[in-house]
């Protein structure tokens, strides 16, 4: 069953092949380097599609499991243990889809140190996929921390004017959370005798009071990553300074590592603590939704607006997850994907205009529809998707989450869902405000009159995202089916725990 060339290993480690080839290419052969990176990431995507094809929809457990002892130390068996289930499958696909898209988006934008850029980008992909597939706490932590390094360089070398500040802030914030998680991981290893995540979930039996501490230690790492209010302050800096491709990956995938962490670790490993803390998590989530929306509205820089909107959207995801019921969690997972698609697309869109005008201030634009009609229409679709218009993907996710939150007994009050629903309206306000400032009104700035509409490359970049935006919006059933059994398993764990509490 475990073999070197099994599909999970290939999906995770294929980017390394690209990195190795790139390392041997001459520094000034920019196009060769770009093509290598693109092809490597497209092959990785194809491999992940193969993984999807092999995936058994009806099996709630881990599939295609790879398990080899990696390190034995002091009675601990640290394993190279990888597996995929309904919780992680879609996120892996999202990662492998967004990576080639991001690479394609850098074709003109990255002209300096292309070699390093592409190498770091592929290493980042490796780390992210590893995070979603790892089933051993030690292995997970290694991947988790590893993603920091390439992202740090992507922001720090190719970022905007305040890139050094943003890169260090990003690194330190994330590390601050993860070191607490490391202590909790060590505690689990010492007291439960294993690092295997499925085993830890199955064994359970941790004292509820201790569970709270462990929950908090893990939550420190994940809440910073999500980011949950009030731990979000690294996000706007990182997003604004990062190059477009970095922002796409940051928003599209890296933030999901946080929400995924809650789903994979906190909820099933510490179910009693999750039930007990659910109202608090929901409270923070709702504050995040409203705060993110309010701050978004106040931004004059488009990229900052999109960055803060992430805080709001991820608040929805957290609310859904901590509804701790079927709809809530399913909606949460779907909303992770939705946010990856919509916000990824929004960052690309901001990148397109920035490459043309080298500004992102809304006041510098206006009336762009007249010169860039294709761009305007595509932006409109993405904007509507992001604010949750029925028929597009955002609506399905948010609606399911709200349903879950309304019916959630752990959260306890319908007020949370009520306030969250207000967030949907606020989203419409700030998104439409942005659209209006950019595209409507008179075309009164001379610099904007000569702008060229999107070229083919740019349209091709957006196309897959648009297709998925419509697909999820109109026919989400297959997506729910993919995650259904695995989510049911988590919900079962929670129900057992709830019975034990009462």
């Amino acid at each position: 069953m475990t073999s070197l060339l099994s599909i999970l290993n290939l999906v995770t480690f294929f980017p390394i092949v690209g990195v190795l080839i790139i390392l041997f290419l001459p520094r000034n052969r920019h196009n060769a380097i770009r093509w290598t990176a693109l092809i490597a990431s497209v092959i990785t995507f194809a491999l992940s599609i193969k993984m999807l094809a092999d995936f058994n929809i009806n099996d709630p457990d881990l599939q295609m499991v790879q398990e080899v002892t990696w390190i034995t130390v002091a009675g601990w068996d640290i394993k190279y243990h990888m597996g995929v289930d309904g919780l992680s499958l879609l996120l892996v696909l999202l990662t492998t889809l967004l990576t080639p898209i991001s690479i394609l988006s850098t074709w003109k934008a990255i002209e300096e140190r292309v070699k390093e850029f592409m190498a770091f980008f592929l290493l980042l992909e490796l780390g992210m996929v590893g995070v979603f597939l790892a089933q051993d706490l030690f292995l997970f932590y290694v991947f988790w921390e590893f993603t920091l390094v390439p992202m740090y360089f992507l922001i720090g070398i190719w970022g905007g004017p305040r890139r050094m500040y943003a890169a260090i802030k990003f690194f330190l914030y994330t590390m601050a959370g993860s070191i607490l998680m490391l202590l909790a991981i060590l505690w689990l290893g010492l007291n439960q005798g294993t690092f295997s995540i499925p085993e830890l979930i199955q064994t359970g039996g941790i004292d509820p009071q201790l569970q709270i501490w462990l929950f908090l230690a893990f939550a420190a790492a994940f809440a910073i990553k999500v980011p949950m209010w009030p731990l979000h302050s690294w996000l706007p800096d990182a997003h604004v300074e990062a190059p477009t491709a970095g922002s796409v990956i940051l928003a599209g995938v890296l933030l999901k590592m946080g929400t995924y962490g809650f789903l994979r670790f906190n909820i099933p490993m510490f179910p009693e603590a999750s039930l007990k803390l659910a109202p608090w998590m929901a409270l923070l989530a709702v504050i995040g939704i409203l705060y993110g929306a309010a701050v978004s509205y106040a931004q004059r820089d488009v990229k900052k607006l999109v960055a803060y909107s992430s805080v709001s959207h991820l608040g929805f995801v957290m609310l859904g997850l901590f509804a701790l019921n079927m709809q809530g969690i399913q909606g949460g997972i779907l909303q992770m994907i939705n946010h990856g698609l919509s916000t990824g697309a929004l960052f690309l869109i901001v990148g397109f205009i920035y490459e043309r005008r080298h500004t992102r201030e809304m006041d510098d634009f206006g009336g762009l529809w007249k010169v860039m009609p294709v761009y305007a229409i595509l932006t409109l679709i993405v904007t509507l998707s992001s604010m949750g218009l029925p028929g597009l993907n955002g609506f399905v996710g948010e609606f399911t989450i709200l349903l879950g939150a309304f019916g959630s007994s752990p959260i306890g009050s319908r007020l949370y869902a009520g306030f969250a629903a207000a967030g949907v309206i606020l989203a419409a306000i700030y998104m439409l405000y942005m659209f209006q400032k950019l595209f409507l009104g008179p075309l009164d700035k001379d610099e904007n009159k000569g702008l060229k509409d999107l070229n083919w490359r740019e349209i091709v970049i957006l196309l897959p995202l648009l297709i998925l935006i419509f697909w999820i919006g109109l026919y989400p059933k297959p997506f729910f089916e993919l995650m259904g059994p695995s989510v049911q398993k988590v919900v079962d764990i929670l129900q057992t725990a709830a019975l034990a509490v009462h």
Partner: protein, 482 residues
């Protein structure tokens, strides 16, 4: 005295004997061909390395309990010989281009290694002292090797004065312990303690003084004041050797004395050591932030790392947890040695004459100028921070495990939080190399590049596949552990 006794100290005998031969041979080696001395010196160390590996884990008590050969000693001797070898490789071109090439360098250094190796095998407080002096005195000389450069002389003088001061603490401590127990043999001290025949107060003061003296050697706060000045002033190749070898030597004695002789007093020294470790990690890392000179920064970083290693001592306070904690400390020492030697080697590659090229700002643009060197420095910085997949992370993981196993959660918290602080200044070097433009002048010398490359490779490989080293460290028990 039997042949078995000499077998126990064979590696030391090889180095010491061979070095004395070189001392004579060196007289006949012409001034411009001192590379031969370096080679000869390295051969001696390599021969000892082979013997250490062949004898690995053999347990012998020799010379009436004066010498203990065990896995613990063998592991540490590996560390010492490796740092000695790299110390020679780094010095090879460095002392020539700094205009301080003398054959004595390659004979003094192995003597210091012998002292460290003796420290690891010490079974008696007298031997501890002997080893301490044998490892220190050559280092005083090496620190002043760049004379008449005032910084180097200052460094040597400072190190010597404070080192002598610390030695006297150790001697006084030994005297008091002897007064309290009528013996200086570690095993006998333990027996006396277990029998309840020791004079309590005297013993505690004695143990405290030994802790102070050895704490000075490992540069633990508050006995660290000398470190930045000495590290900065000494020739960088010497500092590299000193930062790993002397520190590991201090720990070799510290762990041995406290775990072999004083485990009964654990309740008394544990809280003290917990505080020292916490302070060392905190102050070392905070002070490092303020440094602009890379040598001073690495000096404070080495202080901080002493704190991480020191955490293993209280973690070993509970007898049943001691073997794991010691293994953790040993692993960490090896990880620190590899990474730190690599980092110092990079410092050497950028150092120019008259102490130029040592500001962190001088690293600007290294990423573009020497991509490979910069990547390796990045690996070292990440390893010192403790980011996977590097050996530094695995080392921290192992030590923290021992700390948490003995329920010192507070200490573990201090440890991780200070690691976070350390990320700030280690990353600043990376920021400089990649994110600031600059035209650094670098050296590209064979042995220098060799050392950097080897260290970087080891840092990564042992970070990804630490299994074998874990196993070796895990089996490197102290024979006297009760």
């Amino acid at each position: 005295m039997s042949s078995s006794d000499f077998l126990a100290i064979l590696p030391m005998l090889i180095i010491a004997g061979w070095t004395m031969v070189i001392l004579l041979v060196d007289l006949f080696i012409p001034r411009e061909r001192k590379g031969i001395t370096a080679l000869l010196s390295a051969i001696g160390l390599l021969a000892a390395l082979v013997v250490v590996i062949l004898q690995f884990g053999e347990e012998r008590v020799a010379f009436g309990g004066m010498i203990i050969a065990d896995g613990y000693a063998s592991f540490l001797q590996l560390v010492f010989i490796i740092s000695g070898l790299i110390g020679i490789a780094l010095a090879y071109d460095y002392i020539r281009r700094q205009g301080i090439e003398r054959g004595e360098y390659y004979t003094i250094l192995p003597f210091s290694v012998t002292g460290m190796m003796l420290m690891a095998q010490a079974g008696d407080l007298i031997v501890i002292f002997l080893a301490l002096e044998l490892l220190s005195i050559p280092l005083y000389v090496l620190a002043g090797f760049a004379r008449p450069k005032p910084e180097s002389e200052e460094s040597a003088m400072k190190y010597f004065l404070l080192g002598a001061f610390a030695s006297s603490f150790v001697v006084y401590g030994i005297a008091l312990v002897y007064g309290a127990t009528q013996t200086t043999n570690l095993d006998a001290i333990l027996t006396t303690l277990q029998a309840g025949q020791a004079e309590g107060t005297l013993l505690l003061i004695g143990a405290g003084l030994i802790l102070v003296g050895l704490g000075f050697k490992v540069a633990a706060v508050p006995f660290h004041m000398w470190t930045p000045d000495v590290y900065q002033g000494a020739p960088s190749a010497v500092t590299a050797f000193m930062a790993v070898g002397a520190k590991a030597g201090g720990f070799a004695g510290l762990l041995r004395v406290f775990l072999a002789a004083f485990p009964e007093l654990a309740a008394d020294w544990m809280p003290v050591v917990v505080w020292i470790a916490a302070l060392t990690m905190t102050w070392g890392n905070i002070a490092a932030i303020a440094q602009t000179n890379i040598k001073r920064m690495l000096a404070y970083s080495s202080i901080a790392h002493a704190g991480y290693i020191l955490m293993a001592l209280p973690a070993a306070g509970k007898t049943e947890l001691a073997p794991e904690a010691v293994s953790g400390a040993l692993f960490y020492l090896m990880a620190y040695t590899i990474t730190n030697l690599g980092a110092w080697a990079v410092v050497l590659a950028l150092e120019k004459k008259e102490g130029k090229g040592l500001e962190i700002e001088d690293y600007a643009g290294l990423g573009a100028r020497r991509p490979l060197l910069a990547i390796m420095m990045t690996i070292f910085m990440l390893s010192l921070t403790g980011i996977p997949p590097t050996v530094g992370f695995v080392g921290k993981f192992y030590v923290f495990r021992a700390v948490i196993a003995s329920d010192l959660i507070g200490l573990a918290l201090v440890g991780v939080i200070t690691s976070l602080i350390s990320a700030f200044y280690y990353l600043r070097v990376v920021v400089m190399m990649y994110m600031r433009p600059g035209e650094p002048e670098t050296r590209s010398e064979f042995w220098l590049n060799f050392s950097v490359g080897l260290a970087a490779l080891a840092t990564l490989v042992l970070g990804l596949l630490p299994g074998p080293l874990f196993e070796i460290a895990g089996n490197a028990h102290m024979v006297l552990l009760p």
